[in-house]
């Protein structure tokens, strides 16, 4: 089980309090599809992904980004049981969605950059440490039920 220090938990929750889930989620997913275009393979039914402008304006991308980030909110409330929290989602990503777990790592890195751009200097090195740790643990939990 992952150990979270009191400081790490505080850094995570204090940053999260400043996050606009809909905006950041949409931006993170859009950037994932733009920066790592091969990730578009999972979204062939999302319509127009032909350019960065199309991706950013795509309502399905926005909606799905919001969904993904909303689930992060759940993770943050359950830092001491991420495997349990993500058990069903893990099965879904393996059995139905067939997503290579490497993609969770890519999205995690993108999300950190989005948070950094919104928080500026408030996103201190120790903040980044806590959040990259969280991204790693979430990715691990989402991959945990893969077989």
């Amino acid at each position: 089980m992952v150990h979270w220090s009191a400081e790490e938990k505080q850094l995570i929750t204090s940053v999260w309090a400043k996050v606009n889930v809909e905006e950041c989620g949409a931006e993170a997913l859009a950037r994932l599809l733009i920066v790592y275009p091969w990730t578009q393979r999972f979204f062939s039914d999302f319509g127009n992904l032909s350019s960065p402008t199309a991706i950013i304006g795509n309502p399905k991308v926005r909606a799905h980004g919001k969904k993904v980030l909303t689930s992060f909110g759940e993770a943050i409330k359950n830092l001491d049981n991420l495997k349990g929290t993500y058990s069903k989602l893990s099965e879904l990503h393996c059995d139905k969605l067939h997503v290579d777990p490497e993609n969770f790592r890519l999205l995690g890195d993108i999300l950190v950059i989005v948070l950094a751009s919104h928080l500026g200097r408030d996103f201190t090195p120790v903040c980044q440490f806590a959040w990259q740790k969280l991204m790693g643990v979430v990715a691990h939990a989402l991959a945990h039920k893969y077989h």
Binding site: I34, V35, P52, L119
Partner: protein
């Protein structure tokens, strides 16, 4: 992975905007890397890695200068970084995975200091560029 004309233009634009602050960005990125990914400290047992370390600042300046040199010779990264590539292969032997970590931290620094500069398109180009630099630096490893 090939840098398109647009990528090159985006990357040059970033470094033109950063200008003389490149050294600070380099130092910032290194500091973040040591804090965010503590395992990277294993390559610097001879450094004082405490906050505000002059050695880290100095090394960040070196890293930034190399990136600037790379940007100024973006059409021939292998040529521009050849000596550094030899150094990393023969002497430093930093595991290739760590270049991605430093790259991530550099992007975070740009995001924190100049978020409007890091549009999604520029983000993509800069990420590609940093990957290309890492690839060149590890190209002669074996």
């Amino acid at each position: 992975m090939v840098l398109s004309a647009a990528d090159k233009s985006n990357v040059k634009g970033v470094f033109a905007k950063i200008g003389g602050q490149a050294e600070e960005y380099g130092a910032d990125a290194l500091e973040r890397m040591f804090v965010t990914y503590p395992q990277t400290k294993t390559y610097f047992p001879h450094f004082d890695l405490g906050k505000g370390s002059a050695q880290v600042k100095g090394h960040g300046k070196k890293v930034a200068a190399a990136l600037v040199e790379a940007v100024n010779n973006i059409d021939d990264l292998a040529g521009a970084l050849s000596k550094l590539s030899d150094l990393h292969a023969q002497k430093l032997r930093v595991d290739p995975v760590n270049f991605k970590l430093l790259g991530q931290c550099f992007l975070v620094v740009v995001a924190t200091r100049n978020p409007s500069l890091l549009t999604p398109e520029v983000h993509a180009s800069l990420d590609k560029f940093l990957c290309a630099v890492g690839t060149v630096l590890t190209a002669k490893y074996r």
